[in-house]
Symmetry: C2
Subunit: 240 residues, 2 copies
């Protein structure tokens, strides 16, 4: 068994690859909320038939990152203000629980912290290079890696759907630009985790999430940014 011998053996990997490509594009905000995801276009891009694309889209839809509109196709989700509040509420719950579990296991998984340090370092680099898209994605990956280290696969899976959804919320509702304090926050959080200090880690994570939410304009006041939603229309951008 040296190499996969047929095209079929790659199937799982192939699927995963297409999924991650779209997932990353959303994290990096190259794919905007409301963007249409045309099946044939995607199929051509990735060199597969609509069957495969459809499966990927249905996975994204199940994670609420995309939405199917009957007979009209799939679109990148556009969480409204109420959705956003629920997503952020759920995310806070998850992140605190995850941090708690990582802190508990800190001593037994010390070796696995390496990737977190790597991610922070990469975050610094892309921040210095003003590569905003990459920086945002890396920040998301930091949280996903934490979830993995929680040792709880269901929690990890759930956060995996909440992270890109948060990305969409930021795309839609971020009012103030974020400084790069987020990286320092990640860094301090990691220090607390390494020491197994669950309370401090939870406090830091809570503050970190506060800062993310503070930059959002989630009030439903008339001067709202998200006009498309106010009038219930579609943004209708071309899909690749």
């Amino acid at each position: 068994m040296v190499e996969p011998k047929s095209t079929r053996q790659k199937s799982k990997t192939q699927d995963q690859h297409i999924y991650e490509e779209i997932f990353d594009a959303i994290l990096e905000q190259r794919l905007w909320p409301g963007t249409r995801l045309k099946e044939e276009s995607l199929g051509e891009i990735f060199g597969v038939s609509r069957t495969i694309i459809r499966r990927t889209l249905s996975r994204l839809a199940h994670e609420r990152v995309a939405v199917f509109e009957p007979n009209r196709g799939a679109f990148v989700a556009e969480p409204d203000v109420s959705d956003a509040r629920q997503i952020l509420d759920a995310r806070r719950l998850m992140e605190l629980a995850i941090v708690e579990r990582v802190a508990e296991r800190a001593s037994s998984i010390k070796d696995e912290f390496k990737k977190l340090y790597d991610l922070i370092e990469q975050e610094h680099k892309s921040s210095a290079a003003a590569d905003k898209g990459t920086a945002i994605r890396l920040s998301g990956e930091f949280h996903l890696e934490l979830a993995r280290l929680s040792g709880n696969k269901p929690l990890e899976g759930f956060l995996h759907s909440l992270v890109p959804q948060t990305s969409l919320i930021i795309a839609l509702y971020q009012a103030k630009e974020g400084s790069r304090c987020a990286i320092d926050e990640h860094s301090r959080l990691l220090d607390a985790l390494k020491l197994g200090d669950a309370e401090e880690a939870k406090r830091l994570m809570g503050e970190h999430l506060d800062h993310i939410e503070e930059r959002l304009a989630l009030d439903e006041s008339p001067g709202n940014r998200n006009l498309a939603k106010v009038f219930g229309r579609r943004t209708e951008k071309a899909g690749a």
Copy 2:
């Protein structure tokens, strides 16, 4: 628009129906962990092509209720002891958070409690009729309805995957038979919720979950019940 005019309009409903049929069969433990889910058989049963069945199975797989084995098909999941612990941990976290949120909203959603009372009544009936399958399913539905009343769709969706997984765990690892105290626990929980007493409701929910877990034999001692898993074999029951 009086009636759906074509077969296609039913698609969403059709999908949902097949999904729920399988979902319920798992909740009622008519579908045992490890059961093979053959695509063509299911297609014949529900009168649709493999395309539709495949989509349903892929949804179940995403919710970790089913598992795809490459080139071998889908099987009802068989969570091992480690999976079980993670699932129960996640479920406790979710249920406490849900109960907290329902209690908070209690005064504004008082009308919506009706379905919970109905479910408890039905639970009593099926318990009296010794209809174990239905009783188990109704218990699950009680928790799902609570999740709905939390007003948080992501949390609801996550619990929707944890409930059938718990059902599989019980099928695999339950040692002692449960008395019907669960119904009384639901009843008392609902009373506390109606009063908006979050702390008491959380306490009761915690105890309720304790009781479920107490009946499980999750120790990995040799005298373990789950021999198939110990030897890493498939159970291989016919799929419908």
